[in-house]
């Protein structure tokens, strides 16, 4: 308050947390290239450009894949207030669907999985291929599978209170993990799947594929982003906002609300399926061990809450910030922090993610990027309501 008068014109109306948000974004953006360089020094004492770049591209690809999943969650939670605590299920289904469609026949005695149409689609054996249509089809199939699964979960639960769906999504995540591990004939159990073909691998030299990888994931992120922005501003999106703005109307047209929530849940899940598909392409190997609650559900909640619920740019920013901080903390492990902290670093990171979610809820419910307010009808309204409702005066 005292400072407000001394601030330059552009800074008026900014809160201290806005400066913190900017500082965080800047720090990450500056630190990542430095870390990339440091990482490459492991192999080359003076650092080397190829090592630096492969670290850097891997970082960007991960952010892109995570941004897709966070945008999917944003459609569900940010716009409609539908809780999904089982992102893992849709993520995993998308990734495995893509893998079994594009991979070739199972090789060796210890590998069994269904599908494997890669040879028929001419994706295999030429691992480096310039075919693109089958990859798009596999991604579409991933989206479709995830969407169908969402429909299945939504049917018995979405007409009930919001938290029933949340419980059901935890369940479907557990079932998905179990099926992948127990049914070895299906997707090779806990051994996982490797060698998912790389899209457009024939276009560039294998050592340069990492750049193409960034471009492909980047294009998908951009397509999904603009598609979602369009959808949110379309009549469909307006129905959403209209419904969530007027509680009377919501109650009066209960059926419409159910249909809308289902649609948003299914669309969000389909985007998660696309994210899973991109994950399979980008990292080319899948293992049930990689799909933990922390890495396949919880981290996306942290990204969305921190970035800003109900805001697609926020979802992308959240993915960038959280993964950036994650990467920085991984690098810090290389410094002398002492054994006590170092051996516990992975768990401390988990702790901080949990604290971040609760902290955002308590301190800054709109997340880092609150400017896109127009779009975040649902959360915006919630927060406004919370602020405008006078607290019961003499509560003890």
């Amino acid at each position: 308050m005292i400072l407000a008068g001394k601030r330059p014109a552009w800074a008026r109306g900014l809160k201290p947390s806005d400066f913190i948000a900017t500082a965080v974004l800047l720090t990450i953006t500056l630190a990542i290239p430095f870390i990339a360089y440091e990482q490459s020094r492991g192999a080359f004492p003076d650092g080397n450009i190829a090592g630096t770049m492969s670290f850097y591209t891997a970082f960007l690809v991960t952010v892109g894949v995570f941004a897709l999943l966070t945008m999917g969650l944003n459609i569900q939670w940010g716009y409609t207030g539908v809780i999904n605590f089982g992102v893992l299920a849709f993520f995993m289904l998308g990734a495995y669907t893509t893998a079994i469609i594009t991979k070739g026949d199972p090789q060796g005695d210890f590998t069994t999985y269904i599908g494997g149409w890669g040879n028929d689609l001419n994706l295999i054996p030429a691992l480096a291929t310039d075919q693109w249509l089958p990859f798009v089809i596999a991604t579409a199939a991933a989206a479709l599978a995830a969407g169908l699964l969402a429909l299945l979960v939504a049917f018995p639960t979405l007409h009930l209170r919001e938290d029933y769906l949340a419980i059901a999504t935890i369940g479907i995540a557990e079932v998905m993990r179990r099926v992948v591990i127990e049914e070895r004939w299906m997707v090779n159990g806990s051994r996982g799947l490797t060698g998912v073909p790389q899209p457009l691998g024939g276009l560039v030299d294998q050592s340069d594929y990492k750049y193409l990888n960034v471009v492909i994931v980047g294009i998908v992120v951009i397509i999904v982003f603009f598609a979602l922005e369009r959808a949110v501003r379309s009549p469909w999106g307006r129905v959403l906002r209209g419904l969530s703005d007027d509680e009377e109307a919501t109650a009066a047209s209960g059926k419409n609300v159910f249909a809308f929530k289902t649609q948003s849940f299914v669309v969000g899940a389909a985007i998660m399926g696309i994210g899973g598909s991109m994950y399979a392409y980008a990292f080319s190997a899948l293992s049930p061990d990689a799909f933990t609650h922390l890495f396949a559900t919880f981290i996306f909640w942290a990204m969305l809450m921190v970035g800003g619920s109900g805001n697609n740019k926020g979802a992308i920013a959240g993915a960038y910030v959280i993964w950036g901080l994650w990467t920085i903390s991984l690098q810090m492990q290389g410094y002398e922090l002492g054994d006590v902290i170092e051996s516990r670093m992975p768990f401390i990171r988990g702790l901080l993610l949990g604290v971040a979610i609760v902290g955002v809820l308590l301190i800054r419910p709109l997340g880092l990027l609150p400017q896109e307010r127009r779009v975040s009808a649902w959360v915006e309204r919630r927060v406004k309501k919370e602020r405008s409702t006078p607290a019961p005066p003499a509560e003890t």
Binding site: K384, K385, S388, T389, P390, P392, P393, A394, E395
Partner: protein, 241 residues
């Protein structure tokens, strides 16, 4: 009665209130209840009758105006404080704890009070012998009329000075309406001031001393119950005659 009229039990002055982020429903309503009095608020649907009771009971913030209980300012005080000061409220619906027994419902009415519980319970059960016979049964199993009795009984457990009743006759059979109003009269005869909101204007005015007519969130008419009953405008507008 003449003596208590000097210091009104409940005084509502120019109260403006509405639900959060919505337009005001009450645009300055004033109401007075004197000691031993039974006052009816009538008016068409959406006049703000129930909203007024909620505002008096602190369930809804009054944006302007003043509410005084026994001469003391209690504007926007929390319900649990108002209960301590002798105000009780019976909502129109959901006014019992369905999975608690009748006895437990009454006990909850007296949650903040320890002494004199037994006598109070005896009084309430003598007022509603129907309940006395089924005291161990769950309130959810009661009929509409018995629920209303239990709701009244719960509100009486603290021996309130003023009782706020929201449509006590809503959706009851005619026989049951007579019975409920009869009991309200008995409660009033014991000295408890009563402010009731009613859709059923004729019935309400025939048992109350005075009445207020509310419309569009404002005072329209007020006066002795008898004179309101005979008033042509009231008859035309709210009693369908």
């Amino acid at each position: 009665m003449t003596k208590t009229q000097a210091a009104p039990l409940l005084e509502v002055k120019d109260v403006v209130a509405g639900y959060a982020s919505e337009v005001d429903i009450l645009h300055g309503v004033s109401i007075t209840v004197h000691g031993g009095e039974m006052v009816a608020i009538i008016g068409p649907n959406g006049a703000g009758k129930s909203t007024l009771l909620r505002a008096i009971f602190g369930l809804l913030a009054a944006r302007r105006g003043q509410i005084k209980l026994k001469g003391q300012d209690v504007t926007n005080h929390a319900p649990n404080e108002l209960v301590l000061r002798g105000l009780s409220y019976v909502p129109q619906v959901d006014n019992v704890f369905p999975s608690l027994s009748i006895l437990e419902n009454l006990e909850m009415g007296a949650f903040i009070r320890e002494e004199g519980l037994a006598e109070r319970l005896e009084y309430v059960l003598s007022l509603f012998p129907d309940l006395a016979g089924r005291r161990g049964e769950k309130a959810g199993k009661l009929s509409g009329g018995q629920r209303q009795m239990l709701a009244l009984g719960r509100a009486l457990m603290l021996d309130p000075n003023v009782l706020l009743l929201d449509e006590p006759s809503a959706s009851l059979s005619p026989k049951m309406v007579d019975m409920i109003f009869d009991r309200i009269k008995m409660i009033n005869a014991e000295g408890t001031g009563i402010l009731l909101v009613e859709q059923n204007a004729r019935e309400a005015l025939s048992v109350c001393h005075r009445g207020y007519v509310l419309a569009m969130g404002e005072n329209r008419l007020e006066g002795e119950a008898k004179s309101l009953l005979d008033n042509e405008e009231v008859g035309k507008l709210y009693m369908g005659t």
